[in-house]
Every structure is written in structure tokens, then in C-alpha cells.
Symmetry: C2
């Protein structure tokens, strides 16, 4: 009779899972089953435990894929502060409600909006005009519809531009070279990225009329990589663009040839022929507009326990459909939360943050911190590095959580994840929380090909490997299940 | 004394090679050395034969690379009939003269010129507008600067469009799907390519207002593949474009979703929501303009022997710099001819044809045939399939040349080339000659990744693997040396 009851309980559990309803929390259910196993004899071996979140994900997750496919197909590019991003929020609220999450809502905030205009460039001399594949960087000034033309001042790296004397930069179109190399952990982004983050600001301060950089990207396709650049307060923005790697290669080849082409030769030396560029970028600042975060929750069984927060971002750059950056991240974290919910109510609330306006300045992450930074959070995680497999787990947890970290590392090990030796650093949208002391776990994704696609027109659904996407969900589900059931002595 | 003479002869040969001068033809030289070897004793093993053309190429060819780099860097895109193509011809004449070839000249011809304008497209409904990566096909009509908008009629293949009843096509923007799959021998081009070659003509005849096809390409980048399309006499051209594979995937996903979106539902069934596209293509026909072939020769020692003709094409599509299509081909054949010339004057003249206006209708090949088709040619070869390695050799030779084919197959075998079982088919620019009965040899290049790049903005120098380019030159040099010394009993 005990055995019959147990089977009934399992059947009911399964029925609840299938209908997406919450069932009793895992520990309690497991305890009940353990008691039944003790009470039965020969039948015991035939009663499997109900599936955990990771097992549910392994059995056939298509949640992450369908979120990624639907968002990128029906909404597509969703630049922060635009109607497309607003449509994405409406879509997100409807989807998260339909999935059975609680407290689904939009939390609006204001932000300055910059939008792309036309963008064209040519190498105009001394050779025949050749068109370049160019894109404006976020916050770029406009050249006006007629464009500008000027001599190129070539710098082999950001450091070389920083070191350049002002008189060589003034009045020129600065070009910053330095080809990004791929790394598994994405660690080159900060190093190579300086040319984009701060190159325009440096060039503007030295009097350049514009800056064009080699894309911060590791591919060899004629799709330039956009991304934000920033000007210090008081520095007047200049037009700023990025050309693709093949175009940068071409510019460099032409530039090397111009060095051999002598004009004004004297006994003291010669002046090389200048390499010239025409540039037409017409982006606009639209002023302050609304954006917003979309938030949803899996309510925990213990109302006194602080929540686990998991984040992705809903906005994307406008050139592609934002599949790897970051529809997939939203798919991954949401699928994991759904599997945890399906496996049984967790002790802690899981709060899902689909942040708005990340790409153009982490406005959503800042708005979340302003609204919720004073609330206690148990731990924060983010998925915003594509859709390739999780290969490493890193922790930044209190000493009290040593056993918790061990349990997570053991749980993800079967899926090919190694334990890192460095502290987790969180991510952009949870950055303020982590900086304020919230513990963090990083499920680090393989970034070897991430910067082939990052911020380009090529960030589209076809770049996502469904098998690797599922591995992400499995690893996230395993981790999230453990974190959401962690004790108050382990996490704040 | 005989030995001393032999060493002298070798030294003289080497000096001549280094200065780029012609030396005595290989068979004669080899015969002389053989005689010396018989006449000497212990010293004989230390006298190597002078290098043949293939060996010279192996020792360090950079001719093919430098032609490819210089042409794509200094001229860049060179659309048939434009000033860029004319500049390329001037560049070509100067380069071929500087390399020491004889009879370098331009042979002009006239041709109709079509040039690209602006090109933009959007999926406009029922979802939010999403921009597509599109390019006009050669001979496309213009939509006018305001563009056109219409419902999409989806066809899964060219065959499905052919089979479609007129009333379903009329007034629509036709979309032709059918993703190209890569093959080593490029044999899918004809099959998949029908959608581009003839799709617009079929759609126009059925009353479509425009046609957009999935690019004839095997990549997954947002760089559409251009190429020519043709309208029958009497058929009024319609706007015709190609979108990239990721954009075609997106269109298909949206189209499938619209099928589920019911408008006008009745008991008899329902009408699905139409998928709509806005299209703006503004190409122009510029009328008749000049183009031209550039021809150069390695004069043979026997003025009565018919020449070997080797061809590539100098023009390119305008989206990339035409590195693999076909600067590399010109580099390969010219480097091979130069190595044969350096190794010693061949018996037959080698005629190098850098054809003009191939891409837009093989006008250069036709002009060559009109001017020279009545002259006897020993054999024709062409390089116009990228820069990846030669993997197979095919022959279409008279029965008298069986031994010749065997010698070539044996000569290229060490470089990884297999002997094919099918007849050589020549190539576009030598097509008229081969059709008229001129024998042909195909040095078939590996095309596995050719259609990733073909006719896209991505056809740039960085896509060329220098090692594979050199293998091409070595194989060509080996083959050309044998053909150029073939007898009159072997080839016409």
C-alpha cells in the first residue's frame, strides 16, 4: 500500500510537471520517497526518484531554443529605447506569464537614445576609390549627409594613439589597427576593446576630425562590429566607426604602399603620399526615451529567504537579430528556472531579470540596482556570452558556502565543466549587485568564436548550436536547483 | 673538360633564370646533360639537372600571390565596362610587360554595361519591419528610388516556381528558396544556380512584380551573393535580388508563422496572413561601353607550332575585390607561364588571356573567339574556380595524346592530384574554343568552400591560402611545361 501511494505520488508529480504546475519542493518529496523506500522491500528498486531540474533539461529541453527563435524571428533587432525594444518587452511579459512564472512585470526607466543612420566609407586615394564595410559606433557624432574627407593617421594600436603627439592627429581621420585574437574565456575583449571604448575620446581630445577602428572582432568577414564608444564630459563627440577585418587589412596594405610613394622629395627626406578616406555616418541622438526591465519569478517556499537573481539582456544591437547577444542568454536562464520550477518548488525565490538597454550603457542593470539594490540577494548569475557550451564554473561566495560550491562543481562536472581557480565576476547587468557584495557564480561559456559574431549583422539564429545551447540549460538547471535550495547559513 | 663545360652550362642557365631571361628548351638541355653524364664518371652524380618549371615554382613562387595582392589592393573591384576595369587593363599590360612577356596588348570590344545602385529590403509584415541583407542580380530592373512593396509568393525551389500557376505569381514578389550544398567539384552550381540564372525570367513571364532568391551560396554570413540573371528577348525585366542565407532562413521562419495566422476564416478554410516585403533596388543600364582582353605571350621556339592558350578573367563583381574570382586565377596561370619561360623556351607559344567582362556574360571570351577562333590552338586551359588546391586533372584530348595525358597525370601526381574519369570541360572564357574542338585540360580546384565566398563582399585577399595558391602554380607549371613541349603528332 505504501508502494502504491508512492507510485501515485510520482504519477501526480509527473502530471503536475506536464501541466507546468508547481509541485512540492524537492527535499520534502525526496524525504517522503526515502521513507517509502525504507518501508517497502522488493519493489523499492523499481521506484525511481522524480527527475531533478537538470534531468528534466536533459530529457528534452526546447525552451531555450524556442525563446531564442521566437524573439529573434518575431521581433528581430531590438535597439535600446526603440519601438522594437518596447515590442520585445511586451512579447517578453506575455511569454513569461504563459510559462507560468509569477510576478511578471515591466519596470520602466529612462535613458538617452542614439540610433544609427546611413553609413558609408571609401578609401579615396591615392588609388581608385574603394568602398569599405563600415558601421558607426554607439554615441558616434554625425558627419552630416555630405560626409567628410581627410588624410588617414595610422596607429598600430590604441597605445600608439595614446602616445601620438597632437599635431600628427589634429585634422586627420585616425585609424586604429590591432587585430583581436580569439580566446576561450573572452579575456582579450578588455585589452583589444580599448580602441573602441576609449579611442574616439582620445582622438577627439587630440583634434582628430573622425576615428575609424579595426573592428573588435576575430572573424574575416565583411561585417563590421559595432559597439559603444564614450566621450568624457566636455569632449565634443566626433564621428566614430569600425570597419571589418578584411577592410582593415586592405587599408593597411594601401597605407604601406603609400609610404613608398614619395611626394615633395628633398635632400632631407620625403613626404609619403597620404592615404585618404571619405566617411559618411549620420547617426542621431533622439534624447531621453523609455526602456525597461522585464522581471519574473519562481516563488520560493520560504518567504524569509533572499532570492537568487539570474540575468540576461533583452535589448540587442541593431545590425543582427541579437541571437547570441543575448536572446540565447534569456533562453538559457529562463529554461533553467522553468526546469527548477517543474522539478518542485525551491526554497528560495528565483528572480529572472531580462534587462533592458544593456548594450548602450547597462541602463537596465543600473535601474535594477537603484530599485532593488538595498534588498538582500542570495547570489547573482548572468548569461551573456553567447550560446556555446559552459566549460568552467567560477565562484565568488562567502566562506560559509564552501560546501555549496563543492556540490555545484560536482553537479556540473558530468557535463564537461571544470572548476576554475579565479573569482567569479558576475556580468554587466548584475555588476552593481556583485560590486555591492552579492555573491556570484559564473557559468563561463566557450568564447572561442564569440567575437566572430559579436555586435555584427551575423548575430543570427543560425549561429546557435542546439546541442551546446541545451548543455547550457542543463548546467544552469543543475546549478540553479542547488543554489535555490541553499540554506541561510550558506548564503546571505 | 666535358664536365667543366657542363658546370658552365648549368651556371649560365641559373644566371639566365635569375635575370628572367629565356634559356634553351628543356628537352634539348636535358639531352645535352644526358650525353655529358655518359661521358663523365665520378663527377656525374654531383651535376644536378637545371630546374624545371614546376621545381622553380616549388622553390619559392610569389608571383601568383603578388599579382593577386597588387591587383586587389591597388585596383580592387573591377566591374566589367567601368573605369575600374579599364584601370585594371592598364595595370595588367604594365605588369605583364614588366614580367618579360612578349606581344602584350589590349584587344578592345564593346558590351552593354549594367551597374549597381542602392539596394535595401525589409520584411515589413505581419511582424515588425526587419532589414534584409540584399544585393541586386546583374541585369535586374530598378524598383525606382521609392521602392515597391508586395506580398511574397514563396517557392521552395526553382522547379516549384516553374510549376506554379500564373495567378499565384502575378502581382507578387516571388521568393525562391533551396539552399545550396557544398561539393568539392562545384557540381551543384548548375543545379542550384537555376534560380538565379533563370528564376527572374520565369517570374517576369508569370507577372511577378519582383523576385528575390536565396543566395546561390553555401555560407552562413549576411553577405548576399550577386551574379547575373537573364531575361529572354521580349520579356520585360523585373527587379531581381538575392538575400543572404541567414536572411533567407529568417524569411522562411516568418513565412511558416504567417501560415498559422488566419485571416478571413470560413467553414471552407482560411486565408493565411501574407508575408510582405519592401524592396528598393536602383541599378542602371549605362548602354554600350568598352571592355577588353589583355593578352601576353611566351613565344615558342617553333613558329609553326600552334599555341597553348591559358585563360583567367580580369573583371570581377563589384561587391568584393575579386580575389578568388578571379585575380588568383590570373596569378596562377601567369606565374606558371613565367616559370616555364624561366626554365627554358618552350616549343609552342604560350598565350595568356586575361579576359574582360566574364562575369556579366563572357563577353571577353566571345570577343577572343571572334578574333582568334579560326587560328589553330593546341590546347586550352582556364583557372577560374578560386585559389584552393588542384585535386583532380581531367583531359579532353585527341587519341593521339594518350601518352601526353599519361605524362601530365604522372607529373602532377606527386602534388596530390588524382586523375579524373570524366572529360575536361574547359571554362567560360575558353568555352567557345573548346566547343569548336580545341582540346582541353582541366586542373580542377577544390571548390568545397568556393561558394562560401563566390560573388560576395567576402571575396577578398585574406581568403586565399598562400600554400594552396602555390600548389596551384606548381601543378600548372608542371602541366604547362609538358603541353608547351608537346609534339605536333600529339596535339593539333
Amino acid at each position: 500500500m505504501g508502494a502504491v501511494l508512492a507510485i501515485d505520488a510520482c504519477a501526480r508529480g509527473a502530471a503536475r510537471y506536464e501541466s507546468g504546475m508547481k509541485i512540492a519542493p524537492t527535499p520534502a518529496r525526496l524525504a517522503g520517497i526515502a521513507a517509502l523506500l525504507l518501508a517497502t522491500t522488493s519493489a523499492s528498486a523499481s521506484i525511481p526518484p522524480p527527475p531533478g531540474a537538470a534531468e528534466l533539461a536533459q530529457r528534452g529541453d526546447d525552451i531555450a531554443w524556442s525563446i531564442t527563435e521566437d524573439l529573434t524571428t518575431e521581433i528581430g533587432p531590438r535597439m535600446a529605447g526603440t519601438e522594437a525594444e518596447a515590442a520585445a518587452r511586451r512579447w517578453a511579459v506575455a511569454r513569461l506569464k504563459a510559462m507560468g512564472f509569477a510576478n511578471v512585470r515591466e519596470e520602466q526607466f529612462d535613458m538617452p537614445v542614439w540610433v544609427r543612420g546611413e553609413e558609408q566609407a571609401w578609401l579615396t586615394g591615392p588609388f581608385l576609390p574603394q568602398k569599405l564595410a563600415i558601421t558607426a559606433l554607439g554615441n558616434s557624432a554625425s558627419t552630416g549627409a555630405k560626409g567628410i574627407e581627410g588624410d588617414i593617421a595610422y596607429y598600430e594600436s590604441f597605445d600608439a594613439l595614446v602616445a601620438a603627439p597632437e599635431h600628427l592627429v589634429k585634422g586627420k581621420i585616425v585609424f586604429v589597427d590591432h587585430k583581436m585574437q580569439p580566446t576561450q574565456d573572452g579575456s582579450g575583449y578588455g585589452y583589444y576593446g580599448r580602441g573602441r571604448f576609449n579611442g574616439a575620446n582620445i582622438a577627439a581630445k587630440k583634434g582628430a576630425i573622425a576615428i575609424v577602428i579595426r573592428s573588435i572582432g576575430t572573424d574575416a568577414h565583411r561585417n563590421p562590429h559595432t559597439g559603444g564608444t564614450n566621450f568624457e564630459a566636455g569632449v565634443k563627440p566626433i564621428p566614430a566607426g569600425a570597419i571589418s577585418n578584411p577592410d582593415a587589412d586592405q587599408l593597411v596594405r594601401q597605407w604601406k604602399r603609400t609610404l613608398q610613394m614619395r611626394t615633395n622629395e628633398t635632400a632631407m627626406g620625403y613626404t609619403p603620399e597620404p592615404l585618404r578616406m571619405k566617411l559618411m555616418l549620420t547617426p542621431q541622438n533622439l534624447g531621453t526615451k523609455h526602456s525597461g526591465n522585464v522581471i519574473a519569478e519562481v516563488p520560493g517556499s520560504d518567504p524569509t529567504a533572499s532570492p537568487v537573481i539570474i540575468a540576461c539582456h533583452l535589448d540587442s544591437w541593431d545590425l543582427g537579430t541579437g541571437a547570441i547577444d543575448d536572446a540565447a542568454g534569456c533562453g538559457i536562464i529562463t529554461a533553467a528556472a522553468k526546469h527548477v520550477m517543474s522539478a518542485g518548488q525551491p526554497r528560495r525565490t528565483i528572480r529572472i531579470l531580462w534587462a533592458g538597454a544593456e548594450e548602450v550603457g547597462v541602463f537596465g542593470g543600473k535601474a535594477y540596482f537603484e530599485a532593488h539594490g538595498k534588498e538582500k540577494h542570495a547570489v547573482a548569475l548572468e548569461s551573456d556570452f553567447g550560446a556555446d557550451r559552459v566549460w568552467r564554473v567560477d565562484f565568488k561566495l562567502p566562506d560559509s558556502a564552501k560546501g555549496l560550491a563543492d556540490r555545484i562543481a560536482a553537479a556540473v562536472m558530468p557535463f564537461g565543466v571544470v572548476r576554475g581557480k579565479q573569482a567569479a565576476n558576475g556580468g554587466a547587468d548584475i555588476g552593481a549587485l556583485v560590486q555591492a557584495g552579492v555573491p556570484a557564480v559564473d557559468l563561463a561559456q566557450d568564447g572561442t568564436r564569440y567575437f566572430d559574431l559579436h555586435h555584427t549583422p551575423d548575430d543570427t539564429l543560425d549561429k546557435i548550436d542546439p546541442a551546446q545551447l541545451r548543455q547550457n540549460v542543463v548546467v544552469w538547471a543543475a546549478t540553479l536547483a542547488i543554489l535555490a535550495d541553499s540554506t541561510d547559513s550558506e548564503l546571505p
